[in-house]
């Protein structure tokens, strides 16, 4: 079966399932239900959704775009989706606070005919389109392997900086890391928990350096600016570091010539998900589980103004969108910054 824009909405390996709904005529009422508040990534995601929707060619399809952030409480997010269903929205795109918690509301959505699209932290439910990086590949095949490549000798100690315990994404990314690193039995792994928080990462990495003295590479999930900070503060030799795509981290790699790789889960997922919802409403079919191409760049290839932005905040996500998903999916910083206080 041929699905919509396969170069962008690539089906996950081994998932044949395709989703298609009764087409209906636009323009559509779309809602985005975000969870956690006060996190830069989420804010940029919201911005890029608005930026995308503001483009005239897309605006035509959208009668109403409602974006809410319900915070960490799963009950609140479920209520938000229920309310959008009740209010007769055509589609709801959401980042689940917890991938297991939405089966009931997904059923209610199906009966009510509301299209759900889950992204970034996808729900474990085959009945909705789920758009996500392939976390194991993301952390393993791409990030960890790149780090290994840049290690002069594939031996010694590698420091893994993990995310928030009990979170399924952390679990998958750790698995991906392990999958690759275990191919090298001579490499010893030291594991610390950074909670995806720059300050905590810096603290635990500094501790690890103080105790273990020296590492041959570092693989970090998020908040990786903390890794470079710690390494530089300790005058540690410049070993390969794999990390996120926050402006601060990429800059630190580039400007200090630290070998490594920046792998991005871009906030551009937001508009990609919204566009998927609209495509479904228009009658296009999509794979049930979409794996987004994973943008990444090695230190050697980093260019200012392209891969990092000296005059943007350190928390700015340098990869604003998915080029593979078409020209309308890449955003310039000021394009995003313009999407701010205007109500919706």
């Amino acid at each position: 079966s041929d699905t919509h824009m396969p170069e962008c909405y690539t089906p996950a390996a081994g998932s044949e399932r395709v989703i298609r709904v009764e087409p209906r005529r636009g323009p559509y009422r779309i809602a985005v239900a975000n969870g956690h508040t006060g996190i830069p990534w989420r804010m940029q995601m919201i911005r890029s959704v608005k930026a995308w929707a503001a483009k005239p060619e897309n605006a035509a399809d959208i009668a109403e775009l409602k974006i809410v952030s319900t915070g960490a409480d799963v009950a609140a997010q479920i209520a938000a989706i229920d309310n959008f269903i009740q209010a007769g929205y055509d589609a709801v795109a959401f980042i689940a606070v917890n991938p297991k918690a939405f089966d009931a509301v997904i059923r209610r959505a199906r009966t009510a005919g509301t299209v759900l699209v889950s992204f970034d932290n996808p729900v474990d439910n085959p009945d909705v389109v789920r758009i996500t990086p392939e976390w194991m590949e993301f952390e393993g095949a791409i990030k960890t392997r790149a780090v290994l490549d840049q290690m002069p000798r594939k031996a010694g100690t590698v420091l893994e900086v993990r995310g928030i315990p009990g979170n399924s994404t952390d679990r998958d990314r750790h698995a991906g890391f392990r999958q690759v690193i275990d191919e090298h039995p001579e490499i010893r792994v030291v594991e610390v928990v950074g909670n995806w928080d720059t300050g905590t990462v810096q603290k635990v990495v500094s501790d690890a350096l103080a105790v273990h003295g020296r590492f041959d590479a570092v693989v970090c999930q998020h908040g990786c600016r903390g890794v470079t900070n710690a390494l530089l503060a300790a005058g540690h030799p410049k070993v390969p570091v794999g990390g996120d795509a926050e402006n601060g981290f990429v800059r630190a790699l580039a400007e200090n010539g630290i070998p490594g790789i920046s792998v991005s889960t871009s906030p551009g997922q937001g508009p990609v998900a919204v566009r998927a919802a609209i495509a479904l409403l228009k009658g296009e079919s999509l794979p049930a589980l979409v794996n987004l191409p994973t943008p990444h760049v090695r230190t050697a290839d980093m260019k200012p103004g392209v891969n990092y932005f000296p005059d943007m905040p350190d928390t700015y996500e340098t990869v604003s969108g998915y080029a593979a998903c078409g020209p309308d999916m890449v955003f310039t910083p000021d394009e995003l910054m313009r999407q701010s206080a205007d109500g919706n």
Partner: protein, 326 residues
Amino acid sequence: MIPLVRALPRPVAAPGPAGVIALALVVLLLAGGLADPRFFSPAYLLQQLHTGAFLGVIAIGAMVVILTGHIDLSVPWTLSAAATFSTAFVGAAGEGAQGELGLLVGLAVGAGIGLVNGIGVAYLRLPSMIWTLAVNMVVLGVCVLHAGLYASGSRPSAVMATLGGGWIGSLVPNAVVVWMVLSAAAVFLLRRTVAGRCLYAVGTRESAAWLSGIDTRRVLLGAFVISGLCSAVAGMLLAGYANQAYQRMGDPYLLPGIAAVVLGGTSILGGRGSYGGCVAGVLLITLITSMLSLLQVPEAFKQIAYGGVIILMVGYYSRRAAAERA
């Protein structure tokens, strides 16, 4: 100096909080050292002091508020807000002298939030646990809105960077020096000044203090402003340490701050507690957290150990206090 309460019970001289924690620290280090001799390395211990300093500064504010029998739950976002706005100012004003005014901006933010906390608790007589929680949410909202409106800079000024991340030679982290200076100030405040006496008195029995001619409302207000300032200082130090201000940077500090004060033997009901214990508490918490994570202990067991330590220590203090009473 007339002690506010008898330092040690005359008959049974069981060690006080500071003593016990010192003991615990030694035990901890020995245990850790056996597990891995590198825990003894001066580099590691200095590292602990360095990260402890941020918690220590926060604990000063927390202790002052707790002494009055209240609590300040607005620490996380007061810290983030001070860091965010001070660095934003630096970004706008540019590096150099005028950029350093960002320090004042940060302090102003902290003092302002402390003022709001204090007005609610002291003048409107609202329960601190809820009022400061609400204030925390409002500040979060302000920060989110600010970040939503402006792509402002998030990089610390030179001074912030030096104080937060720099070292004197490679001997002492500057943050530790800051902590020590503030500690000295705190000790002086608590032991030698009228204000200090008022803190204890209000924490023991506010009505009696009021009838004694103290404007207890101003005392409470002051306590919360101090707390706000401490959070602000910690925020800017942290921004200097991490070379950036970022949202939610304060989240990891609320509960450890309170726990450190309580482990230090300060009564959560107010009116009782000494600063020495507070410092010891900070060191203990910092060391435990760091060692457990380095020993690769799974999060679940970290949490369990954390809670266990608190129960054991505080349980010991209360038994000791009881022994003192009868």
